[in-house]
């Protein structure tokens, strides 16, 4: 394939990855924004989303479409609930102290990962996509006969991948709507700005935190459910999304949802493109170094909240 179409293919694949990354990173960003804690177990909630999706679709017979439809609703709710319980039992106890939360969520990471290993096993299992029509994509050229459109062999995507991108967009819009227009969003933003005052106004801060922690995990799980028909479900699959979400949230600015979305698209796309044309390892090296530089020289990220 020539360079042009190849690049477009890489960008499309990148866009799919970016969509999933956006959802996952939004979950992490929401938790940090409102609760001011870093959840190291975030990748494991992602992994749980994928594993539970496999479990649900295997349990429910019938068509792939039906099983998937159930999974996409039920699984994020389940994972969210689990996360909320973890917050209530553990994080509340350590009083959301930054250092203790990191240690506790590291512990949680191992617990979730290993329990999955014990029950689901060490193998990867696929989940069939609900629909998967191959769509050839056109490419343009100014050739000998003037402006031409043709369909290069290999330049294609699937209807499912487009669905993933669409689902991510809809979720983002939904989240934006909730945060800016609904009463829940108002409560969340108030708690983020000043939890003590919020409490004085009767907002049950600890319950809000449990809800937020659950929402963060649910978003990651949703991203995983979307990606699992493309990728397989494996008990170690949480590590990469965790690292990438971290990178996205920091570069986008801790506490800024808008920054997270922009950074996720940029990083998801460039990770995809660099991985295709160079090596994935190199892409990751560049990404981690970028995070370091941002933290050191622009600690507020691109859009970060101006808090010290």
């Amino acid at each position: 394939m020539e360079f042009g179409p190849h690049l477009m293919l890489a960008m499309l694949e990148g866009l799919v990855q970016a969509s999933v990354l956006t959802l996952t990173a939004l979950g992490l960003s929401l938790v940090f924004g409102v609760m001011r804690v870093v959840n190291v177990a975030h990748g494991e909630f992602f992994m749980l989303g994928a594993v539970l999706a496999w479990w649900v679709t295997s349990m429910i017979g019938g068509s792939a479409m039906f099983g998937f439809a159930i999974a996409i609703i039920v699984v994020p709710l389940l994972v969210g609930l689990l996360a909320a319980i973890a917050d209530w039992l553990i994080l509340r106890r350590v009083e959301y102290d930054p250092e203790r939360t990191i240690v506790a969520t590291i512990g949680l990471l191992y617990i979730i990962q290993q329990v999955t290993l014990m029950t689901y096993g060490p193998d990867a299992h696929p989940v069939p996509p609900p629909f998967n029509t191959r769509l050839s994509l056109p490419w343009f050229e100014f050739g000998a006969n003037g402006f031409e459109i043709y369909f290069p062999w290999g330049l294609s995507t699937t209807s499912y991948k487009l669905f993933v991108i669409g689902a991510a967009i809809i979720t983002c819009l939904g989240l934006w709507f909730i945060m800016s227009r609904s009463k829940l969003g108002l409560i969340l933003r108030a708690t983020q700005l000043d939890s003590e005052t919020a409490q004085a106004f009767g907002i049950p801060v600890e319950r809000v935190y449990a809800l937020v922690f659950g929402m963060g995990a649910a978003l990651a799980a949703l991203g995983a459910v979307l990606v699992v028909p493309i990728q397989q479900a494996h008990y170690l699959m949480g590590a990469d999304p965790l690292l990438l979400s971290f990178i996205v949230v920091i570069i986008g600015g801790l506490g800024s949802l808008r920054g997270t979305v922009v950074a996720a698209i940029l990083i998801g796309m460039s990770d995809g493109v660099i991985s295709v044309f160079f090596s994935p390892t190199l892409a990751k090296i560049l990404a981690t170094l970028l995070v370091v530089m941002v933290l050191i020289y622009r600690p507020n990220g691109l859009f970060g909240a101006r808090t010290t």
């Binding site: 240690v103 512990g107 191992y110 920091i250």
Partner: protein
Amino acid sequence: MNKPLVLHLGLIALLIVLQFVLPVYHHGVLARVLVMATYAMGYNILFGYTGLLSLGHAMFFAAGLYGMGLSVQHLGLSVGPAFLIGILASALLSLAVGLLALRTIGVAFMIVTLMFSQTIFLTILYFNSITRGDEGFVIQQSVRQIGRLDLSDPSTRYFSALALFAIVLLAVLWLVRSPTGRVLIAIRENEPRAKMLGYDTWRYKLAAIVMSGTVAGTAGAAYGVLFGYVGASFAQVPYSIFPLLWVLLGGAGTVMGPLVGTLFMFYLIDLSSAVTDAYMLVVGVVLVLLTMFARNGLMGVVRERWLKWLP
């Protein structure tokens, strides 16, 4: 009577005696524990005494390990000089990382150390041709000799590990009771106050990072020399989490804590892995319980309840 010194010398004596008393299987485990406890003691200097939580110490361990290993493999050096190069490599890396990471505080510091460590790990993988990447490489038994001492012999290996441990233990004991150690503790307790007492806290923190990283690297180099294997797994995130776990369990900010924690976890994991593949579950549960209920760790509780003078 210098109670702390006597206590710690007593510990070393006990460890010498164990060599003659324990079955051979345990020699190997204990030798490993002693090297890892040295790593943990290095970590404790920064975390337990200065109050800085690094999530990337594996990079320092790996710097020592690979500095030594690559010198043997590619420069043809014998283990003695190679060991020193390993130490030097980790010292330089910790200086570089310290200079950059100290521009951040709190959570950002933790993330920066994590990211640097990831970068080192990925770099090891990337330069596959030199480092053999994930697979790693072996340091032949024939190379692991110093003079007439065969370092792969279980007894020699044990005593070498013990010698390393003992030297670092006594050095840390001296450090934490010295004026410098007191300043590090002051920084941990209340940095703004320490600054307003005239201390250049940045310089002290940098020194702590370099000391901590160098001890970690020394343990790494020693591990390669004594156990003959150099691999990228030691540069990965779990090996940054382990020293945190060991120190928290044994008692952050105590000199003997790291050994206690390392020993405990080693045997706990040994027992668990006999039962299930998912033995890391134990690590997870212990971490959660520790940070929820027992932040002072085992020796911390001992110090609080019974031995107030325990350093």
